[in-house]
């Protein structure tokens, strides 16, 4: 199996006023293509920081981050943005859709940023919305959609540029149980059918139950690892 993500001895700390708070201390991790990885841990354990570093939103203080064979630490900001655009899809706890845009416009935005022409972008965005079961809600704005629906739009947006990795930060954390269940099933379907790689930070045991592998994070370190299947 090919390594899609490789982290070597990654350290990261934040400055909170005068205090330096370590978020990650010496994390090494490998993720293979098609994997569904769940990262579990109490809040403040560094889960989100880890996800942000894998997603090229943040840079580590030390260590190496290799995404699909490219050492991203040496890349300039503009290049990192391009990796986020084409290789990575983000799903957030609070959906993070742009409130003024419709579901369709939200989904097609990454395509337009990538320079895809409008007509093709529209078709592809519609296709993705169908895939997540929202074909009847394309012209609704985020505030007209339920939490579960908003998260589906976010998933469609994350997938629209055909990324190698989908990163999700507590994707069910802001949903009721039923909607959460639906989102989990959707991710599972996308993982098994499309062989889409997922890295999911969660508290949710149900998500953990569908993952191939679970890693446990505490105080910025990997303290345990569990394989399924």
């Amino acid at each position: 199996m090919m390594k899609l993500v490789e982290l070597k001895n990654v350290r990261k700390s934040y400055r909170m006023g005068k205090v330096i708070v370590p978020a990650l201390r010496d994390v090494s991790l490998q993720v293979t293509r098609g994997e569904f990885l769940a990262i579990l841990g109490p809040s403040g354990s560094g889960k989100s920081t880890l996800l942000n570093i894998i997603g090229c939103l943040d840079r580590p203080d030390e260590g190496e981050v290799i995404i699909d064979g490219i050492n991203v630490l040496k890349l300039r900001d503009e290049k990192l943005a391009e990796i986020r655009l084409k290789q990575v899809g983000f799903i957030f706890q609070f959906f993070n859709l742009l409130p003024r845009l419709t579901a369709l416009e939200n989904v097609e935005l990454p395509l337009l940023l990538a320079g895809v022409d409008e007509k093709r972008a529209r078709e592809r965005a519609k296709h993705l919305l169908e895939l997540v079961g929202l074909e009847s809600r394309v012209n609704h704005r985020p505030f007209e959609l339920s939490g579960g629906e908003q998260q589906r739009v976010a998933i469609a947006r994350a997938l629209v540029n055909n990324p190698k990795i989908v990163l999700a930060d507590e994707p069910t954390g802001n949903l009721d149980t039923r909607s959460g269940e639906e989102i989990i099933q959707l991710m599972k379907k996308l993982n098994s059918k499309l062989k889409q790689t997922f890295i999911v930070v969660t508290h949710d045991r149900k998500i953990a139950s569908i993952a191939n592998r679970i890693i446990y994070l505490r105080d910025g370190m990997i303290v345990g690892e569990k394989y399924r299947r």
Partner: protein, 425 residues
């Protein structure tokens, strides 16, 4: 991301905050309005002044005075002096003027003793004078005296008409009386006959002949003491207006220092033009300050917008928007406000300047300049002159201002740390 899409997104964002956007655009358009109105009024005013100057001064005519305005005027010019100037290249005509001011001892009266309205008696060559001032030296009635007709007198309009009533008619006898208190006889009296009356000039300027009475050169020389240098003024016509200053220089070079002064209407007109330009620039400068204030308004509103949309910027960055894309998105908003404000300002400036011109025109409706009320002056109307150049300058100024002041907030947005921006509540 494509430019059209960026503009569309910017428009969407601006529409979201209608009042705020409207107020910012309003402030830009006020700035542009001011600049356009001041510039077009200034240009219109300048055009009017230039017109008046051309009306008041023949630009191809130089006036050569003996001596210096500051160091003192001297006796006059001799025939040799006049010949020298006549032979300069670029000079088409030189004609002399002898002036005899009407004072307590020199009087001009009709047969029945009524004083004429003249203030000065001028000794001229009638024929040359007509060539010199073809538009000005025109007859209301009578004829131009022929060469050598020494007993003829030509009256300016106001010399013949006092308060509208005619005191002298064609063919009337006019007495020029010179009192000589300590001599015998105690006075000299010379008879003239009115040959013609000049049309009314009206305009103010050096060549207003309304209050003059003209006699022949020969007769005038008889009346003055310094017969070697009789000419108090030489009037020079140049063959081409562009030669006026060069001819003036040649004349000044020929005579010893302070012995000649040349009045060059073109350079005078140019000075006035320069002064008007300076005044116009000053006013436009003041107008530009209002646009600068508008620019600060743009910056202010965009800073607020960047703070409000911090999270949105974080989202855009997370889904792969480059810093440069974010920068362009915000710049597009500033630019859009600049363009709309600019276009609006051009329109309001157009109407505003007409309104202002009307207002100003009513203020200067009935001027009484130095007590002389003239018919033409009453018709002064300032008509705004919209030059495309100023439109382009004003419009590009509004765009430049909006881009300059939009740049800082846009850069701030572009440089936001995505992780922190996403965490922003």
């Amino acid at each position: 991301m494509k430019a059209k899409k960026l503009a569309g997104l910017a428009w969407k964002n601006l529409k979201q905050r209608k009042l705020r956007t409207f107020l910012t655009i309003l402030s830009i358009s006020i700035g542009i309005t001011t600049i356009v109105a001041v510039a077009s009024l200034g240009e219109g005013f300048r055009g009017r002044v230039r017109e008046r100057m051309e009306h008041g001064f023949e630009l191809d005519v130089l006036l050569v005075f003996p001596g210096s305005f500051t160091a003192g005027l001297r006796d006059g010019f001799s025939s040799t002096d006049m010949e020298y100037i006549r032979n300069l290249s670029g000079v088409s005509l030189v004609t002399p003027l002898i002036t005899i001011p009407i004072t307590e001892t020199i009087n001009l009266t009709t047969e029945n003793g009524t004083k004429l309205g003249a203030f000065t008696i001028g000794g001229i060559n009638f024929g040359e004078m007509v060539v010199m001032f073809p538009n000005r030296f025109t007859l209301l009635s009578g004829n131009l005296p022929a060469e050598g007709e020494t007993s003829a007198i030509l009256l300016g309009y106001k010399a013949a008409f006092i308060n509208g009533s005619q005191v002298a008619e064609i063919g009337d006898k006019i007495f020029l009386t010179i009192l000589q208190p300590n001599a015998t006889p105690p006075f000299l009296r010379i008879n003239f006959s009115v040959a013609g009356i000049l049309t009314r000039q009206g305009t103010l300027g050096i060549t207003n002949f309304d209050y003059w009475a003209f006699i022949s050169l020969d007769e005038a020389i008889e009346l003055i003491r310094n017969k070697d240098k009789p000419y108090q003024l030489l009037i020079v016509k140049v063959s081409n207006v562009s030669l006026a200053e060069e001819v003036a220089k040649q004349i000044e070079r020929h005579f010893p220092p302070y012995s000649v002064s040349v009045f060059v209407p073109t350079s005078f007109a140019r000075q006035v033009d320069i002064i008007l330009t300076l005044v116009e620039m000053f006013l436009i400068g003041i107008g530009s300050i209002s646009l600068l204030v508008a620019g600060i308004g743009i910056m202010n509103i965009m800073m607020i917008s960047v703070i409000e949309r911090t999270r949105e910027i974080g989202i855009l960055k997370a889904i792969g928007a480059k810093n440069s894309t974010i920068l362009l998105m915000f710049l597009a908003e500033a630019l859009l406000m600049g363009v709309i404000g600019g276009v609006l300002g051009l329109f309001t400036g157009y109407f505003f300047s007409y309104g202002l011109a009307n207002l100003l025109s009513t203020f200067i409706h009935r001027p009484t300049i130095s007590g002389i009320r003239t018919p033409e002056v009453q018709e002064i109307r300032i008509i705004p002159n919209f030059s495309p150049l100023w439109m382009i300058i004003a419009f590009s100024f509004s765009i430049t201002i909006s881009l300059i002041f939009g740049l800082y907030p846009a850069r701030k947005a572009a440089k936001l740390n995505p992780v922190e921006a996403l965490r922003y509540e």
